[in-house]
Point group: C2
Chain length 356, copies 2
C-alpha cells in the first residue's frame, strides 16, 4: 500500500460560524480525510479532499447490516494559538478494537494519526478559540459494497470529518438529573457494547427520548443480564465516590472503554485517591445514599469531560447527590483534565499532542 497522503485543497473556503455561538455537530470544516479499502488492494488512496457528499449504491451494506464503527475526539486551541489533541493514539487503538468486533479491516494507526494531524493542521483556522470551545473530530469507517447477502463487506471507506463545537458548560457546571432505566438495555455481555458502533446508539435513542420527555437529561443503563449492575450514563462512563473511594464499573465487555474514563482512573491513582473498577449495583449506590456515604457522582466522556450527577431517579425514588451541587473531586478532575487538554496545566503523562 502507498501510505503517501495526497492533498487536494478546497478552491474556496466556507464562511465560518460565530465561534461564540456554536451548535454541536452542525457545521463542518473545509476538508475531510478519506481512505478506501478493497479485499484485493487493502487500504488505498489516503487523501485529504474538500468536504463533500459521498455517493453510494442503495444496496451498500452500511444501509442494511450496519457494519460501521466510529471515534470521537477533540482539538483545543488556547490563547497562544497553540492547538492540541488529547491522547489521539488511544482513539485509533479503540477504533481498531471496534473494527475487529464488527469484521471491519483495521487501519494503520500511525497513518490514521498522521492523517488526523495533517487534516487539523490544514483546517487549523476552524479550531475555535473561545473559552470551552473545541473542534470535534469524527473518524469513522463504513462498509460500502453493494451486497444484500449478510456477510462482511469486501469494501470499506474510512473517513475523518470535523466540526467546531461550543462550550459544554456555558454557564458553569450544572449537575444533571439522570433516570435509571430498568426495562430497556443498551447492550449485553457477548454483544457489541464495548465497540463504538452505530447499533448501540440506535438502540439507546428511544429510551433517551422517553427520559428527556420526563425531564431527565440522560439515562443510566443497567446490565442486560440481571438489570442490576450499573453500566453507563447515556453515552458516558460513570463514577461514584462512596465513603472516600471512587468506583467505576469494570470493563465487562458490554461498556465502552472510555478514554476520559481511563484518564480519570490514571489521574486519581497519580493523586493517591482510592479508585476501583468493579461491579457496582444500584442497590449499593442506594444504600450508600441512605447511609450518607454517597459523596459524588459524575459521567465522563469526550463531550463534557466531566458531567456531575445531581440526582438519580430509580424505582420511584429520588437519590439526591451532594445537594445537587458539583462535588469537590469532580471539579478538581475537570479542571485538571481540561487544563492539560488546553495546555494550561503540566502534562506529566504525555497526553497532549501538539499540532504544528
Amino acid at each position: 500500500m502507498n501510505n503517501q497522503i495526497e492533498i487536494q485543497l478546497s478552491a474556496k473556503r466556507k464562511e465560518k460560524p460565530s465561534f461564540s455561538d456554536l451548535k454541536f455537530g452542525k457545521t463542518y470544516t473545509d476538508h475531510m480525510f478519506i481512505m478506501d479499502y478493497s479485499r484485493e488492494k487493502g487500504w488505498y488512496d489516503p487523501r485529504i479532499v474538500p468536504y463533500q457528499p459521498i455517493t453510494l449504491d442503495p444496496a451498500a451494506t452500511i444501509f442494511h447490516y450496519g457494519q460501521t464503527i466510529f471515534e470521537g475526539l477533540k482539538a483545543y486551541k488556547n490563547e497562544n494559538e497553540e492547538v492540541f489533541l488529547f491522547r489521539p493514539e488511544e482513539n485509533f487503538k479503540r477504533l481498531n478494537r471496534s473494527s475487529v468486533r464488527l469484521c471491519i479491516p483495521e487501519v494503520d494507526e500511525d497513518l490514521a494519526l498522521e492523517a488526523l494531524v495533517k487534516l487539523v493542521s490544514i483546517d487549523r483556522d476552524w479550531v475555535p478559540d473561545v473559552k470551552g470551545t473545541s473542534l470535534y473530530i469524527r473518524p469513522f469507517t463504513i462498509s460500502t459494497e453493494p451486497n444484500l447477502d449478510v456477510t462482511p463487506s469486501q469494501k470499506y471507506r474510512f473517513m475523518i470529518i470535523m466540526s467546531p463545537v461550543g462550550a459544554f458548560y456555558k454557564e458553569g457546571m450544572n449537575p444533571v438529573k439522570i433516570a435509571v432505566e430498568s426495562e430497556y438495555v443498551r447492550a449485553v455481555r457477548g454483544g457489541t457494547g464495548n465497540a463504538k458502533t452505530a447499533g448501540n446508539y440506535a438502540a439507546a435513542m428511544l429510551v433517551q427520548e422517553k427520559a428527556s420527555a420526563a425531564g431527565y437529561s440522560q439515562v443510566l443503563w443497567l446490565d442486560g443480564k440481571e438489570n442490576k449492575y450499573i453500566e453507563e450514563v447515556g453515552s458516558m462512563n460513570v463514577f461514584f465516590k462512596i465513603n472516600g473511594e471512587v468506583v467505576t464499573p469494570e470493563l465487562s465487555g458490554s461498556i465502552l472503554e472510555g478514554i476520559t474514563r481511563k484518564s480519570v482512573i490514571e489521574l486519581l491513582k497519580h493523586w493517591g485517591v482510592p479508585v476501583s473498577e468493579r461491579r457496582i449495583s444500584m442497590e449499593e449506590v442506594y444504600e450508600a445514599h441512605q447511609n450518607g456515604q454517597l459523596e459524588e457522582a459524575f459521567g465522563t466522556g469526550t463531550a463534557a469531560v466531566i458531567s456531575p450527577i445531581g440526582e438519580l431517579f430509580w424505582n420511584g425514588e429520588i437519590i439526591s447527590i451532594n445537594d445537587n451541587k458539583t462535588g469537590e473531586l469532580s471539579l478538581k478532575i475537570y479542571n485538571t483534565l481540561t487544563g492539560i487538554q488546553i495546555g494550561k496545566e503540566d502534562d506529566p503523562f504525555g497526553w497532549r499532542v501538539k499540532v504544528e
Copy 2:
C-alpha cells in the same frame, strides 16, 4: 401529503443476468422506489425512478448512529407468467413496528404496498421464472440528516430496491449443520432483537464468520440473559418437532417476528398438528435427542422458506437430527408454502397478492 406516486421510467434498460445462474443480492432491477421525510413535511415525494446511487452528507446520522430498519420479501413468477407476492402487508406492519423501536417515523402501509406493487409491475420482466428463483425485494429506511448529535434524525429516506435471486435449493433440500453459540449473543430482552435493524446483523457477523470457518453453515443463538434458551438460527426463526409436538421460541422481545414463522404456525394449526410458542432450552433439545424424541428441526425465513437442520453442535457434543435427512413434516411445510407462494396450491388463508 401528496400520496400520488410519480413515475420516471429509465431511458435505457440494463441487460438482465441469466436467470439460471443468479447470485443473491448482486444485481438490481431497472427501477427503485424513493420517498423522503422531513419533520416539517412528513413523508413526501413518493416516486419510482431509475435505479441509481444515492448521495449523502458524510455526517448523515445513518453512518454514525445506525437509525435504519429494513424488510425482505419476494415476488414469484410461475409458468403461466403470473407474479405473486406473499403476505406483503405483514412486511409493512413489521417495518412500522421496527421503526417505532428505532425512533423512525412510520410509513403509510397502504401507500408502501401500492408503491411495491407498482414497482414490481414496472420491473415485472426482472421476476425470474426458473424453478425456485424469485425477485428479492428490500424496503428500507435510513436517517439522512447531517448531525453528529446523538438524537433522532429529522430527515429520513424510505426506499425499495429489488434483486433477482437464484433457487435456494438447487440440488434438493440439504439439512444444514448448526453451531450453538454460548459466548456471543445476538440480542437481549430490552434491546433491539425484535426490530429488523442493521445493528442486529452487524453484531452477528463475527460469530457467523467463526462458525463458517469451523464448517457450520449457521449459528444457533441463545438468550442474552442466561445463555440457555433458544432464540434464532442465523437470521431465521427455529422450530423443533419433539415427540409429535412442534415447538418454537416465544416472541420474547429479543427475537424477530418472522412472517414465515407466523405462516408455519398458522399452517400447522390448520392441519391440526400440535404447535406451541414457548421457552425452549438447549438442555430440553438435548434431552429429547437422548430420549429419541427429537424428530425434526428446521429454520424458517424468507430466503430458504424452510431450512432443515441435520446437526447441532453444542458444548462439544453433536446432536444429529433425523439421521441428517429432511423430516417429513419439514418437507410438507416447505412444499405447501412454496406451492402457495407460486400459485400452485390453494390459498385458503388469502396470503397471495397477485401483481397485474
